[in-house]
């Protein structure tokens, strides 16, 4: 397709040109047409401004909270174990055997 002073590329094509590479025909048209080249330039400026936006620093209080997630989880593992050990058949079995041994030892000593 030949672009002329009366036949401009669509805005989608121009935006695509601003973001990616343009074909030779379009580049020639941009050199001749101030209206289209201005459009492409505006879009490029907008893209640069977004790309150059300043990085946001994570505030210290948020950093501390996020780091605490790991330690909270560690703490909760211990608490979960203490609260739920009897649901685990292995620990339940061990504790039962220990209880029987302790009762037996106490019984032996008392008698």
């Amino acid at each position: 397709m030949n672009y002329t002073a009366d036949c401009h590329p669509s805005e989608e094509i121009l935006t695509g040109c601003a973001l990616d590479n343009a074909d030779d025909e379009l580049l020639i048209h941009l050199e001749e047409c101030s209206q289209c080249s201005e459009f492409v330039e505006d879009i490029r400026n907008i893209c640069h401004e977004i790309a150059d936006l300043e990085e946001q620093q994570i505030p210290q209080h948020l950093h501390d909270k996020i780091m605490a997630i790991v330690s909270q989880k560690k703490g909760s593992k211990v608490i979960n174990f203490i609260q739920n050990w009897y649901r685990n058949p292995f620990f339940y079995g061990i504790m039962t055997v220990l209880f029987v041994i302790i009762v037996y030892v106490i019984f032996i000593f008392l008698l």
Partner: protein
């Protein structure tokens, strides 16, 4: 996930995820809550991708989903909506910049996400499409539409 893995993820991606969330919410306090939730989810998750590329995409997807959840909650409770709308975050603007943060952030969420992921983070339309479950063409169209809207705002401002 080990504590060391968690800290490594935070160190490498925390800043960028925070920038992305602020870009989407425009609100500092809300972004703080969302980022904290994101890292709680990461820590709890059993399926953290092992490859760097997949991990980064996964993190941005988790961050976006957490932000969308936040938007849903805010919409549900109008009391909070008022609270959040009153406190838009405005970073120090570059005196040479053509537009302010608020104008940029008035775009719909999807367009905002696409622009940020493409222009700031550097993802291709195809990658963004996979992350946002959209076709590559639709991502491209939305990016074009967003840029066009920004240009129109810019022209209106100059007039």
């Amino acid at each position: 996930m080990t504590e060391a893995d968690f800290k490594k993820i935070y160190k490498e991606y925390g800043q960028r995820l925070y920038g992305f969330i602020i870009w989407l919410t425009r609100h500092r306090a809300a972004s703080d809550d969302i980022l904290q939730n994101v890292f709680v989810n990461i820590w709890k998750s059993q399926n953290v991708p092992s490859s760097e590329i997949e991990l980064e995409r996964w993190l941005f997807t988790v961050a976006r989903n957490a932000t969308l959840d936040h938007f849903r909650k805010v919409t549900r409770y109008s009391r909070f909506r008022t609270y959040y709308q009153d406190e838009y975050y405005q970073p120090p603007t570059d005196p040479d910049a053509h537009f302010t943060w608020k104008e940029l952030s008035e775009l719909p969420e999807k367009e905002r996400s696409i622009l940020y992921l493409h222009l700031k983070i550097g993802y291709t339309y195809k990658e963004i499409g996979e992350m946002m479950e959209m076709s590559e063409n639709l991502v491209r169209v939305r990016a074009f539409r967003a840029l066009k809207k920004l240009r129109e705002k810019l022209i209106r401002k100059e007039i």
